[in-house]
């Protein structure tokens, strides 16, 4: 049992995170200060929600590269609508509205992929430019600095504060929110009929159909959920940055994919866990936001995302090939 846990992807990731953390701590002592560590948590929130959505789609054997465009469109549209209505109520309504818009965009992806039977990569590449282009052409290109009051107040809502030092360490509410949603999704994937259907569909569509799984419905739910979670990421990004900027979150779909793949999910579907994904998010955010501390310009950040993505894909593939060869699987049949 313990051996199995130790050999799992999650255990490996924990070791890598600890090793990288140790390296950072040795090179730059301020890495270990609580404000920086809590700051990493805060910067991980948006990527975390995007990655959870990406995980849903990957488990069912698809891919959704439009999550970043969905996030920014949901955030901007929700903000514009609320400002238009001169809304001053609780922030929750803004979140729900953004999630609804995101879910709607997710539904567009779902319909195109399941009803027209088109490859999900090309469809979502199409909707990626479609959502972003549509937003910037028809909704607006302006950075909105004056948000509904409760939305900008959210940026300073801390879960708790630890006083001390030059700067108090504050953990933002959104980190707690991310953890709560991750736990919920993790439970649903592991313990509900719907969750098991997701893995079944991604692992073997034919077998899932024969088991009586409503394959199309499961696929649709994955894309819609990815949209909802992207909407969540978008509105939180607007609130945390205290501005609705239609040019943010560009290219973050790559980080999300890297995080999910690092966490053990495969683009071929049927694999991946919430814990692994969250560890992947933590590793990427940690490296991304600590590079400056050790004197590496942030311009190199993308390079690490690429390396992580390739490592996440490559290492298990190499290991699998070695196992196959050891078992004497005929080369030609592979």
């Amino acid at each position: 049992m313990i051996g199995k846990v130790m050999r799992s992807r999650e255990a490996l990731l924990v070791l890598v995170i600890l090793a990288v953390g140790l390296l950072f701590a040795l090179l730059a002592p301020q890495f270990l200060r609580l404000p920086h560590l809590f700051g990493i948590g805060r910067s991980a929130v948006i990527l975390g929600f995007l990655a959870l959505g990406m995980l849903m789609v990957l488990i069912t054997g698809g891919i959704d590269v439009s999550v970043s465009a969905t996030a920014v469109a949901a955030m901007y549209i929700a903000t514009v609508v609320l400002l238009e209505l001169q809304y001053e109520g609780p922030f929750v309504v803004a979140v729900l509205l953004a999630c609804a818009v995101g879910g709607l965009f997710g539904l567009v992806n779902a319909v195109l992929v399941t009803q027209l039977r088109l490859p999900s990569l090309i469809v979502t590449l199409g909707t990626l430019t479609l959502f972003r282009g549509g937003l910037l052409a028809f909704v607006g290109t302006e950075r909105i600095r004056v948000l509904p009051a409760q939305m900008s107040e959210f940026s300073t809502s801390q879960a708790f504060t630890i006083a001390g030092g030059t700067r108090p360490a504050q953990l933002h509410v959104s980190v707690v929110l991310l953890v709560a949603v991750a736990l919920l999704v993790g439970w649903a994937l592991r313990s509900t009929w719907w969750g098991r259907s997701m893995y079944a569909v991604g692992d073997n569509e034919e077998a899932a159909t024969r088991l009586g799984v409503a394959v199309t419905r499961v696929r649709v739910s994955a894309f819609v959920l990815a949209g909802v979670l992207a909407g969540m990421a978008g509105i939180l990004s607007g609130a945390l940055n205290r501005a609705a900027d239609p040019f943010t979150i560009v290219g973050l779909e790559m980080d999300a994919l890297a995080a999910v793949v690092l966490g053990g999910a495969a683009v071929t579907g049927g694999r991946g866990t919430v814990l692994g994904t969250m560890l992947g998010v933590l590793l990427i955010t940690m490296v991304g936001s600590s590079l400056v501390l050790v004197g590496v310009p942030t311009a190199w950040r993308q390079l690490f995302v690429g390396l992580f993505l390739l490592l996440g894909v490559g290492v298990p593939a190499l290991r699998q090939r070695r196992q196959e060869r050891a078992r004497g699987v005929v080369e030609a049949a592979a």
Partner: protein, 339 residues
Amino acid sequence: MNARLGGKYYPLALAGLVVVLFVVLTILAPNTYPTLRNIASMASQMAPIGLLAVCVCLTFLIGGIDLSIVAVANAGAIAAAMTATALAGSLGDTTASLVGVVACLTVGAVAGTINGMLVSRLRVHPIPITLGTLALFTGISTGITGGSTQYGTGTLGFLGRGTLIGVPVAFLTLVGIVVALHYLTVRTRFGFRMYSVGASSRVSRYARLHVERVQVRTYVLSGLIASTAGLIMFASTNAANVSFGSSFLIQAILVAVLSGVNPYGGRGLVVAVLLAVAAMQQVQTGINLALGRWSGANFAAEFAWGVLLIAVLGLNTRAQQRKRKTVPRQPSPQQEASA
């Protein structure tokens, strides 16, 4: 042979589309559209996207995809600019630019080799691999330049803006490369193997074809052509930046899909890219003419590429499904991955 053509009449329909678009736009803008200057300008703008679309087509043919092409093009352009600027003092502008060209193509070949080796050795689907190398190449370019624009010595202008008997050199380059690749894919043993690997890599393996070798060579070819596209982009503006051509990937895939090459491999003709890119360029110019003064024109064009990509892909897939006259079935991701 019919299977190779991907529908006997498809190229004819595509040529019809090009003519119809030309006629419609001529009627809508009789004074500005059918002028020699506009046509020459459209022809030279077709070159980078046409070349990038060729990369997509070649990788589609073997059942793969190369998403790193724009990153490779920009990396090549940056290499050309930096090499030319660095050597201009010691070698003179012209020689330095030629060394820059070599540097650019080398970057393309190396990038293609990395893609090919990863795809064939790891036997993972090329989507995550080439997305990873997309981030990797962009990361390296961003890191080296710090995101700033690199300028060359300006001696390559003829490649980007020059004309030969009135025809833009960039367009001639595109036509030359497409025709050569058409010959390569349709008339040579290597081309036959590409179609074979694309139709079924498993059967190709049983037939003792070196599937890995075909994959590596195709991705190297894709990298080389992508860097040529980058060279033309650099030559026409004398500037290179990691963020150039942000909508080129989707446009290249749109052109590739429009040219009738099957994304699942084994079907289509590379030469149809010429017709498809002519159609797309006319739509682009049409959008520019109609919305030119509106600040959101670029974004509206991006919106249009997204809609068109999905529409064209949907129509193509429908047509193929109807032709098979069976229950529509796409290969499942598992089959895609093992292909």
